[in-house]
């Protein structure tokens, strides 16, 4: 710090003088009102918008869950205690949706993260055409999930592209989305296909921060590829790993678009999710109070999983 100031100054003052000045300035600045007022002005737009459209809705999620609020209603919401929750816990569709949401996340997170890492390792070489491959793998990410869902809705038909392809191999494919045992897995496969390119790019940015010297040095010591991955690559990717884990988990729990476009929760509620259920209650049936109760459960689920993940990653920090 002192060096920078000294370098810019025509006759560099001595270090003690600078420290005196900055200390004096700091003491002078601390009660400076102008800085506080400027800060207030700069923060005000974000604060107003953030409070109105994020903080108040969060508070409302908690508050409305205990009321009979309706989306459009002449009367205001009335407090009904835990009625919404008793109704919710007595509804088998809720339990099915909770199960589907959790199952989806449990499978999507390791599959998508693992495949994305494999793709990143495959692409992280200096060979001709690597940019082309990277672009193609990334194409589904750029394509909107609504479009992807529509396209795969057609491909998954009983007489669709996938089953015709399987027929060439002599396999009779099921009605992927019409069958309760395959519907959720089909949505899962498609979701991984769509999202894996995004996480590939993130793994790639992590991989590129690792110094090449480490690999060269370990190669001289006779390390195998697996050993290099296990003892150099994997530990170096710790931060990337945490980020990828958290982002995939949250987006997996929020599963909605695919269900809305492809199955509407069916067949037999085998693809219904918490968000889909909340939208059906709060938008189609206009029961905001009930939808808030579902949102609250969803919020607590995401929160607890995030906290567990944070705890697990922090634990490894301490060990290091």
């Amino acid at each position: 710090m002192t060096q920078t100031i000294g370098a810019a100054h025509p006759n560099p003052p001595t270090v003690p003088t600078i420290e005196n000045i900055t200390r004096k300035q700091r003491r002078f600045e601390k009660p400076q009102r102008s800085q506080r007022i400027t800060a207030a002005w700069l923060i005000a737009p974000a604060a107003v918008l953030g409070i109105t459209f994020v903080l108040i809705p969060i508070a409302l999620t908690f508050a409305l869950a205990f009321t009979n609020a309706k989306l459009v209603s002449p009367q205001g919401p009335q407090f009904v205690g835990i009625d919404n929750f008793t109704r919710l816990f007595g509804d088998p569709v809720f339990w099915k949706s909770l199960r589907n949401t959790v199952l989806f996340a449990i499978f999507v997170v390791p599959i998508q993260a693992g495949l994305a890492l494999a793709l990143a390792l495959l692409i992280n070489v200096k060979v001709k055409g690597v940019n082309f491959f990277r672009t193609v793998y990334f194409l589904p990410v750029v394509t909107s999930m609504v479009v992807i869902s529509m396209l795969w809705l057609f491909m998954y038909r009983q007489d669709g592209l996938i089953n015709q392809l399987l027929a060439q191999l002599g396999i009779t494919g099921p009605d992927w989305l019409g069958n309760p045992t395959t519907a959720l897995a089909s949505i899962l496969f498609m979701s991984v296909w769509q999202g894996v390119g995004f996480h590939m790019v993130i793994w790639l940015s992590g991989l590129q921060t690792i110094s090449q010297d480490m690999y060269e040095a370990s190669a001289i010591d006779g390390a195998t590829n697996w050993q290099q991955f296990r003892y150099i690559t994997w530990p170096a990717l710790r931060q990337t790993r945490t980020f990828i884990l958290v982002t995939i988990t949250i987006s997996a729990f929020s599963l909605f678009t695919q269900v809305q476009v492809m199955t509407q929760g069916g067949p037999l509620d085998s693809t219904s999710t918490l968000v889909f259920l909340a939208v059906r209650a709060g938008y189609q049936q206009q029961q905001t109070g009930y939808a808030a109760a579902i949102s609250l459960i969803f919020f607590l689920l995401v929160l607890s999983v995030s906290l567990v993940q944070r705890y697990l990653t922090r634990d490894k920090d301490v060990k290091k």
Binding site: M1, T4, I5, E29, K30, Q35, R36, T38, A39, L42, I43, P45, A46, A47, L49, G50, T52, F53, V54, P57, I58, L60, T61, L71, V72, L122, I123, V127, F133, T135, V136, L139, V142, S144, M145, V146, V147, M150, L151, F154, D159, G160, Q164, W193, I220, S254, F256, T257, Q260, V275, A278, V279, A281, G282, T288, A291, S295, F298, F299, V302
Partner: protein, 289 residues
């Protein structure tokens, strides 16, 4: 040291040989994957040029991926007849651009104050922003729907539902964008502020003339990271807007599902949505070359 390393690398020919075999294997895997990721999208585009009967007929052979047979733009003209496509497209563009541009201004101002100014309560504000990062929008969507319906609108009426504003104003302030800006601003030397202060610059001038021009990479990152979700908005416009002329292009796809389904038209509409995004996405790389 490096000389020795390159020397060692040169005198180990077996490793080279293995890596050549690997190179070919790697290419094979990569090309198969190009098929896995590229063919469905190619299928979408090719099918958009065919009449429905032929789409189904071609499914059994490789013709599904080749534009042969009765090729025309009929599906596209049918799309333009059936829905106000350009209106939908315009809405999507305007909404995403507004979200991105206003977001960059509002969020960077907030981040600037948090990173460079000294005032009480800064850590509390930063803590709240970080805490909201783990709240997915989906948890707020339904209470928010109820809430915007109670907010006063600028013309004096009550309720924002079915307006243009309800589709972008709630998404301007963005915790992730603030956090990214904050991190970047924090890494810019604070001595610049002091120097500018000595020259009589106001904090706003420092923000506008010094910090923002130095933050090109952060602005680009935030722009990309906020554009894609804004463009891909689906749940929110589906619920908050009913008027056809206000709808974004993705919600427009629903029209083709409801009325008698023509898959050729769906594929044409899907291609029309997808091609511009792919071009926008490739634009930076193309300009770079």
């Amino acid at each position: 040291m490096t000389e020795t390393l390159s020397h060692v690398a040169e005198v180990v020919p077996p490793a080279e040989k293995v890596s050549r075999g690997r190179l070919i294997g790697g290419y094979l895997v990569k090309i198969v994957l190009v098929g896995v990721f590229g063919l469905p999208l190619l299928f979408m585009f090719v099918s958009s040029l065919k009449p429905d009967l032929q789409i189904f007929g071609d499914l059994t052979s490789v013709k599904a991926f080749i534009p042969v047979g009765d090729i025309s733009l009929n599906n596209y003209s049918a799309v333009f007849d059936r829905v106000p496509f350009w209106q939908f497209m315009m809405n999507s563009i305007v909404l995403s651009v507004l979200t991105v541009v206003l977001g960059i201004i509002v969020n960077s101002m907030c981040a600037f104050a948090l990173a460079r100014l000294r005032f009480r309560g800064k850590m509390v504000i930063l803590g709240i922003i970080l805490a909201t990062l783990i709240v997915p929008f989906e948890t707020l969507a339904l209470p928010l729907l109820w809430w915007v319906n109670k907010l006063p609108y600028y013309d004096g009426s009550i309720g924002w539902l079915d307006t243009y504003e309800v589709q972008f104003v709630p998404f301007i302030a963005n915790a992730f964008a603030i956090y990214l800006f904050y991190q970047y601003f924090d890494s810019i030397p604070k001595e610049l502020d002091e120097a500018a202060k000595v020259d009589g610059a106001s904090w706003f001038t420092i923000y506008r003339k010094i910090v923002m021009p130095l933050s090109g990479p952060a602005i680009a990152t935030v722009a990309i990271l906020t554009f894609l979700p804004a463009w891909n908005q689906y749940l929110w416009p589906l619920m908050s807007v009913q008027t056809e002329s206000l709808r974004p292009v993705l919600v427009g796809l629903d029209y083709f599902k409801q009325l008698n389904t023509s898959w050729g038209q769906i594929m044409a509409y899907a291609s029309l949505i997808t091609i511009p995004v792919c071009i926008v996405h490739r634009l930076p790389a193309l300009l770079h070359q």
